[in-house]
């Protein structure tokens, strides 16, 4: 069913991209391709939304190419934000703790100003998550920061044929103590397990019905996406902070065989060995100070260092509006300040996030054939004085600091973020406004 839905979207994208653009060459920059060593005085050539060449100064530039002098600049892949709430993704409501059927896709405002904020920060791909405050807040959506009128313009279908994951959470986050919501950690896990057991049975029935056309079965919107989870197509993005909750999330993923990315992971520095052993990736947040809620009291900015040193696939996220999309590169710098290796921090901003979303064949590094998603920086990515000067998505320049309208989204100002107030109110329960 889902695949049929994607066909017209795929066609539409093909039409947009296939209007044979002239090649564009960016010369002279320090290029961080991520999949290889940095290239001094490098050349990046893109055409029709794809990268057609990355190399040194001797890289052959097509005769008809439009050449941009990028001397003194730094070029790296567009940043992947593995956990954002931009656009107002909502998700489940107060009626139930488990909402596998709700889709962020159905709620997001594709013309949200928030996406301009993301572009100003050099973000080109986002995993927009519904929630929070549920055991399962709903289906997440993977989007590219393309120009958009409707959601179909934004989504990106991954290597597994889906365009999102499943948001889950444990610890105090879903423990509302109201009807239908858990009051303890054990109850949280029991409710999760109960649903996954049902999904396993449903999956069996579905597989029988596929094999034998005489067998009919009723569609169940709650269980259908969980079959994708059990099949390994749809990744579970699991909000978790404390040591015990991190281990519970891993335990559930092992029991039911689903693929999981741990999110936030405030106490990752306590259990990086266990996480590494389980082979589970971590999408971490970098915050200014510990606390703000009990589960973040033992947060450490050394999480990035501890996890990546242990060999855990580590990425960064904004959780926007918890942290700001314009400052995700800064988050990586702060992780480096706390001991993370610079190369690993750059990977965490790009290819590692792409891997977590099953999109690494298309994005996350500057390689021939990959999407032309890249950013041009004024200098060292880890310097406070560096700015994102341009953000390119699939060969289209989506942000240019020289354009005053774009620059306004970096600084803010009077009525720059016109949809922001409304979306802020949606997050009121978390951010508060005392």
């Amino acid at each position: 069913m889902r695949k049929k839905l994607f066909l017209p979207i795929g066609l539409l994208l093909c039409i947009i991209v296939h209007a044979q653009d002239k090649p564009m060459a960016f010369k002279g920059a320090l290029i961080y391709p991520i999949n290889g060593t940095p290239i001094q005085n490098g050349t990046l050539i893109v055409q029709d939304g794809k990268i057609i060449a990355v190399g040194d100064a001797n890289t052959k530039i097509p005769a008809d190419a439009i050449i941009t002098d990028a001397k003194g600049k730094v070029i790296m892949p567009g940043i992947v934000d593995t956990h954002s709430h931009l656009g107002g993704p909502e998700g489940g409501d107060n009626s139930a703790a488990l909402n596998p059927d709700t889709r962020a896709f159905d709620a997001i405002n594709p013309t949200s100003d928030g996406f301009k904020k993301a572009l100003a920060g050099g973000l080109t791909t986002l995993n927009i998550m519904p929630g929070s405050g549920h055991l399962m807040s709903g289906q997440t959506v993977y989007v590219k920061m393309r120009e958009a009128k409707v959601m179909e313009d934004l989504i990106i279908v991954n290597e597994k044929g889906v365009y999102g994951g499943m948001k889950m959470a444990n610890g105090t986050n879903p423990m509302r103590g109201t009807t239908g919501f858990p009051g303890t950690r054990a109850k949280s896990a029991a409710m999760d397990r109960d649903l996954f057991v049902k999904a396993q049975e449903y999956k069996k029935k579905m597989e029988k019905a596929v094999k034998d056309s005489s067998k009919t079965f009723e569609r169940d919107l709650r269980l259908e996406p969980l079959v994708e989870v059990l099949q390994g197509k749809r990744v579970v993005h699991f909000h978790t902070h404390k040591e015990n909750d991190i281990l519970t999330a891993i335990r559930l993923s092992k029991e039911f065989g689903f693929r999981v990315v741990l999110h936030h992971v405030s106490e990752g520095w306590k259990v990086y060995d266990e996480i590494a052993k389980a082979g589970v990736p971590c999408s971490i947040i970098v915050i200014e100070s510990p606390g703000g809620k009990l589960e973040a009291m033992d947060y450490s900015s050394a999480n990035g260092a501890a996890l990546s040193n242990a060999g855990v696939l580590t990425g960064f996220h904004t959780d926007d509006g918890i942290t700001d999309s314009r400052l995700l590169i800064r988050a990586a710098a702060m992780a480096v300040r706390a001991g993370m290796n610079k190369d690993k921090a750059l990977e965490a901003l790009t290819i590692n996030g792409a891997k977590m979303l099953d999109l690494s064949s298309r994005i996350g590094s500057l390689e021939k054939g990959k999407d032309a998603d890249f950013i041009i920086l004024s200098g060292d990515p880890f310097s406070v004085y560096t700015k994102v000067e341009q953000t390119w998505v699939e060969g289209k320049k989506r942000y240019d600091i020289k354009n005053p309208d774009d620059k306004a989204f970096l600084f803010g100002g009077f009525k720059v973020y016109s949809t922001e107030r409304e979306e802020y109110m949606n997050h009121d329960d978390e951010i508060g406004n005392q």
Binding site: S289, G292, G321, F414
Partner: protein, 417 residues
């Protein structure tokens, strides 16, 4: 360096909690004896004067004994010499709630806002400040040595503020000014905390009513007939201090019309006004100047939502260029993160156009002057408190570290964070 390697190892094996205990024990040791210290640095930002290259600061008995170039100052033999790349004055956070609004963020550690009534100027910060709060040590590690803290935002008058040194110690020992300002708020957040006021006009009407009553209270206090003098009322005692000009009003206002409301109130009741938050102050340069209002500016990385939807990260640069001194604050955060880090907020203001040394001023001398404590803190000058921050590189750079912090001549942080 030794400390650093201990930390690195601990990430591998030891539980962090125990480590903190060890570090705090080590840190407490120097407090026993106050040593004479000489700090040699590649650059000393005195703030009161031009930066000194290849400079020396001498510290004696908790005060700055002298500051100058290495040529000018000879280091006495019994002084312990410490080297640094960059030295700045200890930072002064112009407005925080750290110590009242705890990191746990549970009811028992949230003392910044009393919701029983929207106007309670009698609430003293010194009765609530917790010097042992985890976040006090946290901000100290990033160079904050003096903090204007106290009651929070969200009530028309939420209570009083105070000034503390962030050094470890009991409340009386760390308090610099027990009553600094009256914390007030005009804006949508007030309406979320109380059933009334429920509108903007009502907010102003309620403040005016109480200030008029305070005027009456003051008049009656001077009545020749002592029997007609009113019984002591803590609320009006506190408001009287404002009306007499003994303390300033710290009014958190962000939208254009709320800033104008604050200016109008200050004019009507002739009190000293500090505009706090000030997200849209950039639209009201002339009005702010003619009202002689002072500015405490929101954190550069504050969230652009609610009343702050129109904030710009250029505000510090715009206001400074217009001749309005800016003091940057960490302000109040309701959720994660529970506090901003002052140094990082100034750093971002600099990247968004504030001149470099103005960025340092906005977290040192400007707030010291605004708070009336510039005789003691805010710059590196002879006779001032020995509150200093030592860096291993450009203080504003992401990858530079705050290596040592000194308050009143004692090392209070040695973490290289």
């Amino acid at each position: 360096m030794m400390m650093k390697s201990v930390i690195n190892k601990s990430i591998k094996k030891i539980k962090m909690k125990h480590l903190y205990k060890i570090i705090s024990c080590l840190l407490l040791m120097p407090f026993i004896a106050q040593s004479q210290t000489a700090i040699k640095a590649e650059t000393i930002y005195t703030i009161s004067g031009a930066p000194i290259k290849n400079g020396v600061v001498l510290i004696k008995d908790g005060k700055i004994e002298s500051v100058g170039t290495a040529k000018e100052i000879s280091i006495p033999k019994n002084y312990t010499v410490v080297n640094a790349k960059i030295v700045t004055p200890g930072f002064v956070d112009a407005r925080s709630v750290v110590g009242l609004s705890g990191a746990l963020n549970i009811p028992t550690d949230q003392d910044q806002l009393e919701k029983s009534s929207p106007i309670q100027p009698e609430l003293r910060a010194i009765d609530a400040y917790n010097p042992e709060e985890k976040l006090v040590a946290y901000v100290r590690d990033y160079g904050v040595t003096t903090m204007h803290t106290g009651h929070g935002i969200g009530a028309l008058v939420s209570g009083q503020t105070m000034i503390v040194k962030t050094k470890p110690g009991k409340i009386d020992a760390v308090t610099l000014v027990p009553m600094e300002m009256l914390a007030m708020t005009i804006g949508s957040s007030v309406q979320g905390n109380f059933t009334s006021p429920g509108t903007k006009a009502k907010q102003i009407a309620m403040i005016r009513t109480e200030l008029l009553k305070a005027q009456g209270y003051m008049q009656k206090q001077n009545d020749k007939d002592t029997s007609k003098r009113p019984a002591t009322d803590l609320k009006y005692e506190a408001l009287s201090k404002l009306l007499k000009g003994e303390v300033k009003a710290l009014i958190t206002v962000n939208s254009t019309n709320d800033i104008m409301n604050a200016i109008r109130l200050a004019k009507e009741f002739n009190f000293k006004l500090v505009i706090d938050g000030a997200a849209e102050a950039y639209k009201l340069i002339d009005e702010i100047k003619s009202a002689h209002a002072e500015i405490i500016l929101h954190a550069t990385m504050a969230r652009n939502g609610g009343d702050m939807v129109n904030m710009t990260r250029e505000s510090a640069a715009i206001l400074t260029a217009a001749g309005i001194p800016v003091s940057i604050e960490t302000g109040y955060e309701a959720y994660v993160p529970k506090t901003h880090v002052l140094l990082f907020e100034a750093a971002l203001a600099v990247t968004y156009g504030l001149p470099y040394e103005e960025g340092l001023k906005a977290i040192t001398l400007n707030p010291a002057k605004l708070l009336g404590i510039d005789k003691r803190v805010g710059s590196i000058e002879k006779g001032k408190d020995a509150d200093l921050v030592l860096f291993d590189g450009d203080p504003f750079e992401y990858l530079s570290k705050v290596c040592k912090v000194m308050i009143d001549g004692n090392w209070v942080s040695d973490n290289c964070k």
